[in-house]
Amino acid sequence: AQRVTQPEKLLSVFKGAPVELKCNYSYSGSPELFWYVQYSRQRLQLLLRHISRESIKGFTADLNKGETSFHLKKPFAQEEDSAMYYCALRRGGGYNKLIFGAGTRLAVHP
């Protein structure tokens, strides 16, 4: 079965602390994974994708096929990082369908 698991509903950290948002997936083929972010009163938007191997707003995510994980990391959290984060997996069967995890709310305190 294709599944995305985000085990934490809420992650609360202080400004300047490291952040790791966990994502585990279940997929039999070669996975394509994404992180989407939704800031308060804004629409959901793509943050980064594993294929690009990029760093966006200081965030990185590495695909670990052995652990079937795609954790999102940032070494020093900022208050403006507070948002809802969703991990997503591209489904098999075409048409660019995604499976989303339940989401993790990141709260960065001053």
Partner: protein
């Protein structure tokens, strides 16, 4: 810049009413999607459309139908609204084959009383 718009930001309807949620995208995208977003459940796919007049059920299609008569417009229909359909509804679109990034609308918060 891709623009996905949804007809209403907030909507309050009564149980049993027929409800229409409209979504329009202005970038000639082929694929369009309807999700509902619930706390603790994330985004769940209701229906998607891969071309005009073409549609497929997602994971939770019961109680919903869709219509796509024009490429830019994708409508979600609640045939007879029920209280368990109270939710945030998100529309998204993506260009087509090989382009996976989905662009989302602002959402419609529907309350069924």
């Amino acid at each position: 810049d891709v623009k996905v718009t949804q007809s209403s930001r907030y909507l309050v309807k009564r149980t049993g009413e027929k409800v229409f949620l409209e979504c329009v995208q202005d970038m000639d995208h082929e694929n369009m999607f309807w999700y509902r977003q619930d706390p603790g459940l994330g985004l769940r796919l209701i229906y998607f459309s891969y071309d005009v007049k073409m549609k497929e059920k997602g994971d939770i299609p019961e109680g919903y139908s869709v219509s796509r008569e024009k490429k830019e417009r994708f409508s979600l229909i609640l045939e007879s609204a029920s209280t368990n359909q109270t939710s945030m509804y998100l529309c998204a679109s993506t260009l087509g084959v090989g382009i996976v990034e989905q662009y989302f609308g602002p959402g419609t918060r529907l309350t069924v009383t």
